[in-house]
């Protein structure tokens, strides 16, 4: 093996890239850094070829600012892949480049310390602990002081990190609704899909987390996993598939539609504009969300890649994240409600709205289906405040 752990991935990508350059036009990071995807693979291999030690290699990559910016500035939105004649897998390339960056010490571990979701404490678990948010009563496949672990759950509900942390009442309302559907016993998989670990370059840890999730689903006896977020659904579908588990991964919208769900309130009177989640690779989530909301294709959707939250770009370049979010929101007319599918998109847009308010509402689709809502003002106040109150020193210690 050479100095780069994943040289084979770069070679494979190099082999598949025509160097046509179309990917550059699809991504501001590639364009600004004048790199194609094949160019990233080439630059990694060039650096290795010219280096005799790890230190040489690290230096060679570090002085190549366009390479560093392109690898760390990727949202994993796959806009570049869509323009690629060969549909080459950008995620495989960038994930492995980040692993190599991490191994070479080119990504400071502390920059991701708050999103290492396989540890006891990450930003979500800390927030939940401080604000008393927990779901032990809903995680029925785990034993508590008062109940045995259930292994006869038909449905595992996967709300994902953002919804579980920032929308506890909404999470519980959805859970209750799933139970009312009568499709069988429901348990909650109170975990992360691992995407933030992968984004940070902790590929093996993300896989270990997927193993843990798979074991929990297996222990619960669940036949179906209901996901709120398309990104979680993607990752879990892949993770369960490669582990040979025959579990049906379903979007919440599709599940509710199948069980005759009726919306708890009318849609807002303002025009709706969907923000297509880039993680919703094949668009099926968008279709299913439109269907459960009872709107057709005449309700527009903004594609344009990521909301800005993907790929842990904010830990490297917060301005790029903000610009991306603002760019995507710029396609939402004033007076509209932008409907998101991934709760992290909702969070990101709400944050941008707080920073530079516009006359638009940002709603996750579950907020249109159910009574409970995110209270972003409260969430952001609590998120900011927790660093200064009695928990401040503890947080500073845990995340540094």
């Amino acid at each position: 093996m050479g100095l780069l752990k994943h040289a084979d991935v770069y070679w494979k990508f190099m082999g598949q890239c025509t160097q046509c350059g179309y990917c550059k036009g699809a991504c501001s990071s590639l364009e600004n850094n004048e790199l194609t995807l094949g160019g990233i693979a080439r630059a990694m291999l060039d650096a290795e070829r010219g280096a005799s030690t790890i230190e040489d290699l690290r230096d060679a990559i570090l002085v190549n600012a366009p390479l560093v910016n392109a690898v760390r500035g990727c949202f994993f939105c796959t806009s570049c892949k869509n323009t690629c004649f060969a549909h080459n897998d950008v995620c495989d390339l960038i994930y492995h480049a980040r692993v190599d960056f991490l191994n070479l010490g080119l990504i400071p571990r502390e920059s991701y310390s708050s999103v290492l979701v396989d540890q006891e404490w990450d930003i979500f678990t800390a927030y939940r602990a401080i604000h008393g948010i927990g779901y032990s009563d809903l995680t029925r496949h785990k034993a508590t002081e008062t109940s045995e672990a259930a292994s006869d759950c038909e449905i595992a509900f996967f709300p994902g990190c953002s919804l579980a942390a920032y929308g506890p009442e909404l999470t519980r309302e959805i859970f209750a609704c799933l139970e009312e559907c009568g499709a069988g016993k429901v348990t909650m998989l109170d975990s992360c899909c691992g995407s933030s670990l992968k984004s940070a370059g902790f590929f093996e840890r993300a896989e270990a987390l997927c193993d843990r999730n798979a074991s929990e689903i297996d222990a619960a006896g669940a036949k179906q996993l209901v996901c709120v977020c398309p990104g979680c659904a993607n990752d879990m579908k892949r993770a369960l598939g490669v582990r040979g588990m025959d579990i049906q991964v379903t979007s919440l919208s599709a599940f509710l539609a199948e069980h005759g769900f009726e919306m708890k309130k009318p849609l807002p009177e303002t025009p709706l504009v969907f923000s297509k989640s880039c993680q919703n690779r094949d668009g099926s989530y968008l279709d299913e969300t439109r269907a459960i909301l009872g709107v057709g294709e005449e309700t527009p959707a903004v594609f344009k890649g990521c909301c800005g939250a993907g790929g842990a770009v904010s830990a490297f370049n917060p301005d790029r994240q903000a610009e991306q979010a603002d760019m995507k929101l710029s396609f939402v007319p004033d007076g509209s409600t932008v409907v998101t599918m991934c709760p992290t998109c909702t969070y990101t847009y709400a944050f941008r709205q707080m920073m530079s308010p516009r006359d638009i509402q940002s709603k996750h689709y579950t907020e249109l289906l159910f009574e409970n809502q995110f209270d972003w003002e409260k969430v952001f106040a609590q998120l900011g405040g927790m660093w200064y109150g009695e928990y401040g020193p503890w947080l500073a210690q845990v995340f540094n």
Partner: protein, 412 residues
């Protein structure tokens, strides 16, 4: 122990990827690549871009000399394989005879001019190699060359047409079928594309063919002559040059009849093995699993060549190491996917356009796009998408990527 030799016949996308996979999978023996092309391969996808001035000559080579060198491949460039003897495990070439333990046939395909009448003193242009692109570029650079006829309606014909338009030439396209892109597009999508071509100033003569070409001496014209082209519909027009794109043909002439199982190309299994266990095939010479039909077909696209070459290289590395080839090395099959940009026009397709009683077509027009969906029951099995508004192009790409994934996922 004698060093093992893997011979790669043809060193384009499939051949290079076979070499990469051999090395990535730990094969340290000799790799001998025999190619009638250059030692550092060009991308046939980019040649028309060079002809049109969108790419420099150097940009048409996806791999550098240093990268190819690092694969430690002995390359016999400009060398033609005359025959393979699969029983003796030898290749007879213009540079001598070579023995191999395993062989990858990756000779690709060449353009055919079948249907173009024989014309004494005139050879039409074709578009595949860098030399072909150079010939078109040189012709277009001559101010006396003003009017070009492109014969054919395939992707290659349309890219040739684009190169001519970019060079400021007056272009007419003649196609035997009623519509362009007849292998990839249903009529609704093709018509939209044709409207775009006409808006670019391209003259279309569809549903007819070239019946005859006469060379007329003219001192003031390009190369001192003009071409009087008679079409099957009776029209007669003058052109300065003709480029022909009447399809591609797999390069298999060096395989003795009956030695390997051949249909339209070499029939291969999931590890790209031909009917002889020591001979593999990849790219345009291989007929591998096409997922929608469930049949073995040639799907002559760049990615297939790359993946199949890699599959063959990986499988050989395992076999020569005496190990079973893992299922993860198998070629999973493919669907046809095509993307073409001509000026402001973008066409994306994936899957099939073959219609039968179980399939239905839906046409949807929205924004600057037209989409044609082919369903089998509720399952999407193919689509065409034409976008003629550059402002909607990004959306078209995203939608194209999304639909391609849907087809692929449904097949899994």
């Amino acid at each position: 122990m004698t060093q093992q030799t893997v011979a790669i016949v043809g060193f384009g996308t499939a051949g290079v990827n076979a070499a990469i996979a051999l090395r990535n999978n730990g094969y340290e023996g000799k790799i001998l690549a025999v190619t009638d092309g250059p030692a550092v391969p060009y991308s046939p996808i980019l040649t028309s871009y060079y002809a049109g001035g969108q790419k420099t000559y150097e940009e048409c080579f996806p791999w550098t000399e240093a990268e190819i060198d690092s694969l430690n491949v002995e390359i016999l460039g400009g060398c033609t394989v005359e025959a393979i003897d699969v029983a003796a495990h030898t290749l007879r070439t213009t540079s001598g005879e070579f023995a191999y333990d395993k062989c990858v046939i990756a000779t690709g395909s060449n353009p055919v001019t079948r249907g173009f009448p024989q014309v004494e003193g005139f050879e039409p242009l074709v578009m595949r190699s860098m030399d072909d692109a150079q010939a078109l570029k040189d012709a277009a650079a001559d101010p006396a060359c003003k009017r070009v006829l492109v014969s054919g309606a395939s992707m290659v014909a349309l890219k040739t047409l684009e190169a001519c338009v970019l060079r400021g030439l007056d272009v007419t396209l003649v196609g035997m079928m009623p519509h362009v892109l007849d292998m990839n597009a249903l009529p609704a999508a093709a018509e939209r594309f044709e409207r775009g071509l006409e808006a670019m100033g391209v003259s279309l003569k569809l549903g007819t063919t070239i019946a005859g070409v006469k060379v007329i001496a003219d001192d003031q014209a390009y190369c001192g002559r003009q071409l009087e082209v008679t079409f099957a519909n009776g029209d007669v027009e003058l052109f300065d040059h003709v480029s022909v794109a009447h399809g591609m043909r797999s390069n298999l002439d060096f395989i003795p009849a009956g030695d390997l199982e051949i249909d339209r190309a070499l029939l291969v299994d999931e590890f790209m093995r031909t009917s002889n266990p020591d001979v593999y095939a990849a790219g345009d010479v291989a007929q591998a699993l096409e997922l929608i039909s469930g049949q073995r077909r040639i799907v002559g696209i760049w990615k297939n060549a790359a993946l199949q070459g890699a599959c063959a290289g990986s499988a050989i590395a395992y076999e020569l190491a005496g190990l079973p080839v893992p299922a993860s090395c198998a070629f999973a099959g493919s669907i046809s996917t095509n993307t073409i940009v001509v000026g402001d026009l973008l066409f994306i397709s994936a899957g099939t356009i073959e219609l039968n009683d179980d399939r239905r077509v839906e046409v949807c027009e929205k924004l600057g796009m037209l989409a044609v969906y082919i369903y089998e029951g509720e399952r999407l099995v193919g689509f065409n998408q034409v976008c003629d508004n550059p402002e909607d192009r990004r959306l078209a790409y995203d939608a194209g990527g999304m639909l391609t994934l849907r087809i692929e996922r449904a097949l899994k």
